[in-house]
Amino acid sequence: MIRLLDVHKAFGDKVVLAGVSLDVRDGENTVIIGASGSGKSVTLKLIVGLMEPDAGEIEVDGQNVPDLDRDQLAEVRAHIGYVFQFAALFDSMTVAENIRLGLVKRGLDEATIRTRIAQSLATVELSGQEDRYPAELSGGMRKRVGIARAVALEPRYILYDEPTTGLDPVTSAVMDRLMQRTRDLGVTGLIVTHDMRSAFTVGDRIAMLHEGVIRQVGSAADIRATTDPVVRQFIEGRPDDVAPPARRSAS
């Protein structure tokens, strides 16, 4: 289980997280929604130790990430897959080599590595693309390779950073289906996005990050029915100067 407890993070004078607390339940897809620059991606980077919190606890399987030394952190990272916003594929390597890199680090034998590469590419419907370079792939394909790279490691958790941003609706739907499929395989997902259609599709629970704290957390149905004006405005995508739509009367 991943647990954030009163996490604070600032960059200079700019406070990004001002006491975030959130439980990411095992076997579920938890979605963090929030405006651009609200600290969603920072939250993911804190969980894998790519950034250091100013205060608070970040527990992964009971271990407080900021307290871990390098070896312990590497051990924690071995159970976490990370899908970057722009895929972050190694552009000097082919698709297969990108996936292979993490598997080699785990000391797997060559036969297992080949099997995992083939399986993970099949999962993201990219079989046969092993020898292509990232520059030869579309944005959607690159993101799917990013997911394949994460899935191949058979992690307990996958963190998705804006997985559908910049994709056309059909490719976004494919990404949503992949996130649901990995959840069905038993992998816990933590997804940050401001794509509400995607959030409602893949999220078992949705948390709204606003002004450095979790404003509301609940099921997709809870969030759809929220009366919180800030959350309501965000999920409706309504600018500040537009009044909310009048609610229909029960009659």
Partner: protein, 263 residues
């Protein structure tokens, strides 16, 4: 924090930074040393990459080093002839070409050329990896970025700069000899008489030790600046420029250092 989130110091270093923040500098120096020692111990990560970097940073640099050495030898032969004619026996041309190429111009000019080629290459590559989150991706795959990115490059440059420089030394002397026998009134025996006149084995290893230290400095500056890149293409361009400038500065400083220590 002990888990490896790491902020490189802003360069240029070292004197102004040391004076402004002595405590922080000592702390960071300690972390660099610890990180470097730990990364060196992660042999399984860097060893498979070392040969590829030796080829890319070293072997591929031989043509530019040879090109520079050819013209250095020609100019040295002509210049020494111009200086010595009428004052010193002309076979001293061989002595000047040999000493200068082996001890100074071979290592330094080759180092400068490689600071441009190798330093810029490393800084641009790692800088692009940094701003496109490839370095972060590497870490999430449980790799130590120092062991994977820094150690093989620094080791490869340290090992290959002397090899490239030795080619440059040989080509520089040969080019000086060819110039002397064709353009000056000097025979082969006279040229080699001068070459042997003041030759000591130390001349060669002095040049090679220097070039090894140049390689380490150039590669380290490239890694430091590359991993410190921020802000997209412009930031990578800035880091690349700084890596080359700092590499050249380091070469000149080390050149003076070795002259003080070894001569």
């Amino acid at each position: 924090m002990a888990n490896g989130y790491y902020t490189f110091p802003s360069v240029p270093l070292p004197v102004p930074y040391v004076l402004r923040h002595p405590g922080t500098f000592i702390q960071r120096l300690g972390r660099w040393t610890t990180d470097a020692a730990r990364a060196l111990g992660d042999v399984a990560t860097w060893r498979p990459l070392l040969l590829g970097h030796m080829v890319r940073l070293g072997v591929d640099s031989v043509p530019i080093a040879v090109f520079i050495a050819i013209f250095t030898g020609i100019v040295l032969a002509l210049l020494s002839s111009y200086i010595f004619t009428g004052a010193v026996p002309l076979y001293f041309v061989g002595a000047l070409v040999g000493k200068t190429v082996m001890m100074e111009l071979g290592p330094v000019l080759t180092g400068m050329a490689l600071a441009g080629r190798v330093g810029a290459n490393i800084a641009a590559e790692l800088g692009t990896m940094r701003v496109t989150e490839q370095v972060d991706a590497l870490e999430t795959l449980a790799y130590d970025k120092f062991a994977y990115l820094v150690v093989p490059r620094v080791l490869a440059a340290t090992l290959m700069f002397p090899v490239v420089t030795s080619f440059a030394m040989a080509v520089g002397v040969v080019s000086g000899w060819v110039t002397a026998i064709n353009l000056l009134e000097l025979s082969t025996p006279e040229f080699f008489k001068g070459l042997r006149l003041f030759y000591q084995f130390k001349d060669i290893w002095f040049g090679l030790v220097k070039s090894a230290s140049f390689g380490a400095a150039v590669a380290f500056m490239g890694c430091l600046e590359g991993l410190n890149s921020r802000g997209g293409a412009e930031g990578v361009g800035r880091s690349t420029t700084r890596a080359v400038v700092l590499g050249c500065q380091a070469i000149l400083a080390l050149d003076a250092f070795w002259a003080l220590v070894l001569l």
